[in-house]
Symmetry: C2
Subunit: 76 residues, 2 copies
């Protein structure tokens, strides 16, 4: 989402204000230090940045995502 920010010529501070969340929260979100997010927040970020969700949240498969909670009951 850094690209989108630059493209829009906004500072993090601006984004926070336009999205309606605190700088603190935005900073933590950007740094991956929050465990979840409200869809409304995601929506506002995308809307303000005029960018797709994939610019804001990404996922890469990691084997550890299958570890703990699931009784690995399934075959391939």
């Amino acid at each position: 989402m850094n690209e989108a920010l630059k493209r829009r010529g906004l500072k993090g501070k601006d984004l926070a204000r336009l999205v309606g969340i605190s700088e603190t929260q935005l900073s933590m979100f950007r740094a991956g230090k929050v465990k979840g997010v409200r869809f409304s927040t995601l929506a506002r970020i995308c809307a303000v940045l005029e960018c797709p969700l994939s610019d804001v949240v990404t996922y890469e498969f990691s084997p550890s995502d299958l570890e703990s909670p699931a009784p690995t009951d399934e075959e391939d």
Copy 2:
């Protein structure tokens, strides 16, 4: 994410178990009745379904996403 489910040949019940959340919660998530989600949950869903995030969460711009919280201070 319905496609991914079918592709994997899983029932919602199975997904819930493999992901490690309740059927209730999964059902509400799928129906868009929750306001947010934990990244760990998203990750597990994607991992189990072997699908990208975009199969699980999507966003489409809506003008209303810019309405309330942001002091529309910004010019074009």
